[in-house]
């Protein structure tokens, strides 16, 4: 069983469409709320998880459209776990 072949299938099943730098791929988009400043202020904490091999040139400030809404990448994306996936924090 080749787990790597399942990754795009996983994103196709559970992801949403994202467009940046002329590319379109499926990503897992998260938008929970977070509390900051000792729980005194609530804020959105947008992020997306994507295949590292896709969106390879994302960096701080890159504009990306996820599910029709525009965001900017916040900080440098980081690889997670075995590096097959990366995570990018986003801001509106």
């Amino acid at each position: 069983m080749n787990f790597d072949d399942d990754l795009p299938v996983f994103l196709a099943d559970f992801g949403v469409t994202a467009m940046a730098l002329g590319e379109t791929h499926n990503v897992i988009f998260n938008k929970p709320d977070a509390v900051i400043f000792d729980d005194m202020q609530a804020s959105a904490d947008f992020s997306m998880r994507y295949l590292t091999s896709e969106f390879a040139n994302l960096h701080d400030g890159t504009t990306i459209v996820v599910e029709g809404s525009t965001y900017k990448v916040r900080g440098e994306p980081l690889k997670v776990a075995d590096g097959k996936f990366s995570m990018a924090s986003l801001r509106k």
């Binding site: 509390v35 900051i36 400043f37 005194m40 202020q41 609530a42 959105a44 947008f46 916040r74």
Partner: protein
């Protein structure tokens, strides 16, 4: 009413008048939602008492105003007009001289966190000086 309560009430009134579009609260301990920002939370600090004369105390009462701003680029810069407006309101207040003998701008502390953009919180502390008979607050 104690002097500290009179000061805090005056501060809230001044802030409400001076800071248009800012939600002003007193001693709030619950989370501000994004729709409530910008917000100012006025909190009492220490009331230090020094013996000034026989049966007369000198009070140094610190009040901290916590300014919460929506995440944005240069959020600390966005705080500046609010800080200036609050300071002018305190400096030109007709109410405070009737309550205290002096007000000192004591400190400003900036804090930053990464959220939906750069979030900043600014703590502005003022010190109120007044004399009171030792048998009253």
């Amino acid at each position: 009413m104690t002097k500290t309560e009179a000061i805090l009430q005056a501060m809230k009134t001044l802030a409400n008048q001076a800071l248009v579009g800012v939600k002003v609260e007193r001693s709030r301990t619950s989370t501000f939602g994004e729709s409530e920002l910008p917000a100012l939370n006025i909190k009492p600090g220490e009331d230090e008492v020094l013996n000034y004369a026989q049966q007369l105390n000198k009070h140094e009462f610190n009040v901290t105003c916590e300014l919460y701003l929506p995440p944005q680029n240069s959020s600390d810069q966005a705080a500046d007009p609010y800080v200036e407006a609050l300071h002018q309101a305190i400096a030109n207040s007709a109410t405070l001289p009737a309550i205290v003998s002096d007000v000192h701008y004591k400190s400003r502390v900036w804090q930053f966190e990464d959220a939906d953009g750069s979030a900043s919180k600014l703590l502005i502390t003022y010190q109120f000086i007044y004399l009171n008979p030792s048998n009253t607050l």
